[in-house]
């Protein structure tokens, strides 16, 4: 069954105001295209979850989509602050933002518990930190085998998770190489899943290498083909992380007006990712094109 659709339709159908939304991807495969479409469709009151909110949530928060953020690292990775988030937290601009924070391992545990339908997940961290004091969802359980008590975190189950992948078939069976991050867990934990793919491939391509499949079509509601949909983050083997864009965001986002102008130009002013790619221009995509480093292939063997 084909679930292939456009980003516009997928977001319109599957994102509701007030939803808990995860656009996952740890540095790798962050679906900016989905985030921009959510901004464009002026979704409101979202709880946004990600380990690293990154530029995409900075943009969504600046655009007024979110009321709450569940996270573990609130920075522009390798650059510095997320200024829009800071304005919301420090000054309530454009609106106050509720924070619920963990360490990375805490967020990892939350998503594993969500995917596994466990009531809690044990993580040997947080001890001695002030985090449990400001986040009462971090609790402890006794060790029934007589050891020390261990911290636990509750499951995280987004209403919607968006996963960007290198390739998927029409049913949503999706493959990733390079950093798998929390992609599988975020998808399995969610009630609804959008898979956004650099390429739509035949089912046979997926079945030729089943060990690379991280998400089965079974849990996928919509499949969106969207080339360069993760820029300025990256897709291993397809394009590089756009360091210049991450550095440039630091100055754009320091000023709410400049940020507004950027959103007008790059999000509201465009119909979708295809226009973004065209407007960005071929020199950018050329600069980000990696050389070749092939995996080699393995024989699964034909057994009849």
């Amino acid at each position: 069954m084909s679930k292939v659709t456009t980003m516009r339709d997928a977001i319109a159908d599957l994102v509701r105001d007030g939803d808990c939304v995860a656009i996952e991807g740890f540095t790798h495969l962050i679906c900016f295209a989905a985030g921009h479409e959510i901004i464009r469709q002026r979704k409101r009151g979202l709880t946004l979850c990600r380990l690293t909110p990154d530029l995409i949530y900075d943009q969504m928060i600046a655009a007024g989509c979110a009321r709450k953020l569940v996270f573990s690292y609130l920075g522009n990775p390798g650059v510095g602050s997320l200024h829009a988030v800071r304005r919301a937290v420090e000054k309530g601009v454009p609106a106050p933002l509720e924070l619920e924070e963990y360490s990375h391992f805490g967020m990892v545990g939350r998503l594993v518990a969500g995917a596994a339908r466990l009531p809690f997940y044990p993580v040997r961290t947080f001890t001695g930190s002030d985090l449990p004091a400001v986040n009462r969802r971090i609790k402890q359980v006794e060790d029934p085998y007589g050891g020390e008590p261990v911290h636990v975190v509750p499951p995280l189950n987004p209403d919607l998770t968006v996963i960007h992948v290198q390739r998927a078939d029409r049913d949503g069976n999706a493959q990733v190489w390079g950093l798998p991050g929390m992609q599988a867990e975020a998808a399995f934990a969610a009630a609804r899943v959008i898979v956004v793919a650099e390429e739509i491939v035949d089912e046979g391509v997926i079945r030729a290498d089943p060990n690379r499949t991280v998400i089965p079509g079974l849990i996928v509601d919509a499949v969106v083909p969207e080339s360069y949909g993760a820029h300025p983050s990256y897709a291993q083997g397809y394009y590089d992380r756009d360091t210049e864009a991450y550095l440039a965001w630091d100055s754009i986002s320091r000023d709410q007006a400049a940020l507004g102008a950027w959103l007008d130009e790059w999000v509201y002013g465009l119909s979708g990712r295809a226009e973004y790619v065209e407007k960005m221009g071929p020199s950018v995509w050329q600069r980000l094109e990696p050389g070749e480093a092939w995996s080699g292939q393995v024989n699964y063997g034909l057994y009849r």
Partner: protein, 254 residues
């Protein structure tokens, strides 16, 4: 006059601390530069671990982010994050966790969360990331940061990542965790943590730096080792790698 910057000295000194280390969990920012320098100098077999899910990275360039694609291509193993945090970090497979910091106190407790009260912060910092997890679960921790009264404070605004807590055996009483910070490398000197009190102690001054100069940047009365060493200046090779290979733009070396 020195032909290198204080940051170059700091990075070189940090890399040297990894000479006998097998596996290092690399934090974002300065630790990233120091670990990549170590792999190219004193520790060619150093296994770089990145929280994004990489074991045994051999980056062909200095990654800006800890999830850069150059960390993946040519790595030994790339795994989902639950695998990395549980089977490597929590299992005690990481020899050294290497962290940067916004605020640190005399016992090596780290704050990367807020300046000011948590609910109404003056400055909202990035938060833990993997910091709290690495600080507890790596066998020991190295910290790299520039000296300044804003950073070296008497009292943290928030303990993100536990060091030696209130000193003495306070950390040991926490339970089955790593031994915490053992070395702190700054732009003016190197500190180690006293075996008994666990207070940070200046043990080596970088060339042309003074105890008084260090004290000026620290918000409490500094503890200084009886025998104070002088850090060897960056070698020509260390400088060449930093300048030509790792950070030609000078982002971290300024």
């Amino acid at each position: 006059m020195k032909d290198y910057t204080a940051s170059e000295m700091m990075i070189a000194a940090s890399a040297r601390e990894l000479a006998d280390v097998r596996v290092v969990f690399v934090g974002i920012g300065l630790p990233n530069v120091a670990c990549n320098l170590a792999q190219r100098t004193v520790a060619p077999h150093l296994e770089l671990v990145y929280e994004a899910g990489v074991y045994g990275a051999r980056p062909g360039r200095l990654p800006l982010s800890i999830g850069d694609p150059c960390l993946v291509t040519g790595a030994t193993s790339v795994v989902p994050m639950p695998h990395l945090f549980q089977y490597y970090l929590q299992a005690g497979r990481i020899d050294v966790g290497f962290l940067g910091v916004a605020q640190i106190d005399r016992y090596g407790n780290l704050n990367t969360t807020v300046i000011g009260p948590y609910q109404q912060p003056k400055v909202r910092l990035p938060g833990s990331g993997g910091g709290c997890d690495i600080a507890l679960l790596a066998r020991r921790v190295l910290v790299i940061t520039r000296l300044s009264r804003r950073t070296f404070v008497e009292q943290l605004d928030f303990v993100t990542s536990p060091g030696h807590l209130t000193g003495g055996d306070a950390r040991g009483r926490l339970g089955d965790y790593g031994q915490g910070p053992t070395v702190l490398i700054t732009d003016m000197g190197i500190f180690r943590f006293d075996a008994e009190t666990r207070e940070m102690t200046l043990t080596s001054l970088h060339p042309e730096c003074t105890v008084a100069g260090v004290q000026e940047q620290v918000g409490w009365e500094l503890r200084v080792a009886e025998e104070l060493a002088t850090t060897g200046p960056p070698t020509a090779e260390e400088l060449r790698i930093m300048r030509e290979e790792l950070d030609p733009g000078g982002r971290h070396r300024k």
